[in-house]
Amino acid sequence: MAIQVLETSAPSPARHDRGEAVERRRIPSSWPRALAPAVAAAVALVLHLALPDRQPPATSRPFAGLTAAMLAVALAAAAVQRTSGRLGAWARHRSPLATGVVLALAAWDLLTIKLAWMPLPYFPDPDRVLTAMWEDREALALSAFHSLRLLACGYALGAAAGLASGVLIGWSRSARYWGMPLLKVIGPIPATAYVPLAMVMFPNAFASGVALIAVAVWFPVAMLTCSGVADVPKAYLDVARTLGAGRSFLIFRVAVPSALPSVFLGLFMGLGAAFLTLIVAETLGVSSGLGWYLKWKQGYLEYAHVYAALVIMSLFFSGLMTLLFKVRDRLSGWRKGMIRW
């Protein structure tokens, strides 16, 4: 309570800033707040150990160990939260989120094996999913690798084609005359609709997968690059011209940088489209990768493996998105008020 008062009376000049900034200026939070994640982890552990199983247990039980580990980390983090440095501020900021995650895991454990409110085999408990993830780690890693290979090839090809055609159509009047109708007619067709065509046009499943993903990426990248380049403020081009800029300088050093925010929007949309097309391509023809793994395990009703693959997929896609956001921040850090990832 005393600390509550201290908190409200503490000067906070950045109240309207983002949460992090406010958090950093605040004095270290109270013990009850700092301990919330640890308490949640302890509750999860106690419930997991005390309540009887209502479903047949998995072959191994790593959830108890995982929860104990979370408890240990949470206790350490609670101590860190009482410090005033950057790490302490970060830990304070993340503390409620961590509590939420731990409680969600505990709820999952309760709803499945402890209370059996969710039916097997469709809703396995945490132990089953963890076990599946561990037992099948080689197949999962290999699938992730195959997915990454296919995605990288398709995305690189599609993004390159999209950037090239986008700049061309955005800059040149005659290229726009012919290119724009093409973009308008072909672009909106979802790449997955080309599956029948791709299957007969390419020698193998990998090549057709690459082509499908490339087409999916090409459209948003080309469209947004084109509109970004076409919308370059005329003043920038005029300034550059009076400074002696030639055509290639105007295109690549003025129009393209000015269009970068729009280009990145296209690259993000393209990445989303690429994920979707990747999974479809893998389930339809390519016999490897996470999408294929998912479909395969579903066929055997091995839902623990399905969830394991979903977890890997989430980490995988989220990681790639983060990477793209990092690249964008490097290249267009000059903009204010960008969406954070």
Binding site: A235, D238, V239, A240, T242, L243, P257
Partner: protein, 269 residues
Amino acid sequence: MVTTQTRIETEAEVEPASLRLREVSKTYRRADGVETVALEPLSLDVAAGEMVALIGPSGCGKSTLLRMIAGLERPTSGTLRLGSRPIEGPGAERGLMFQDPSLFPWKTVRRNIETGPAARGALRECKAEVDEYLRLTGLEPFADSYPHQLSGGMAQRAALARALVNHPRVLLLDEPLGALDQFTRMRMQDEVIRFWKTRRTTTVLVTHDIDEAIYMCDRIVVMTPRPGRIDRVMDVPLERPRHRNDPRFLKLRAEILEMMHLSGEEEES
């Protein structure tokens, strides 16, 4: 450094940096067919090394005239020449500083100033000079800031440095000091005069400030309201360095104000 300097000088001998405008007019035509006469035919000569002020009410076509000299706009009629060569398009030898700074928002202040040399492929030789201009414009602490982090005055100074560092033969300044406070403005006027004295760049300066015109320029071109024409051209017969409190300065100022009917509220006659 030495080589570029001599190259520019020899070129300047063949091509004097003088401007010849003959019966130049401009009519804008909007997409819906409505026409705006921005400038009625006007003729003007600017000698090499001269600094000429262009003053006149808003909308009389001052920016339009500068854009035509810069080659960004084609005249509806008439001819423009730089030395003996007709002006047919934009080029580095005619530097234009725009009415609003138009800095590239994705470039730091330093990179903005480097744009001209970079575009001409002469960045390496100009690095030291870029530093000097950063210092002279007081922007050194902001060299790595982005334009949105600058004040209006700082942005205008950066735009001025960007135009100057390119060594144009003709410098076209469209209200370069318009956004500055009185003090910075006077200081910058002295700076611009200093640049001009060392280089003797032919300069056309658009301004709304009569004091600025008298203080800085050799001649003052007064334009009429829309559509723009040259009302009259006045010499400024003051030797340099000039003083703002010189009685002749004040007399000239009074004359111009009188002519523009701005010397004060008049009695109804």
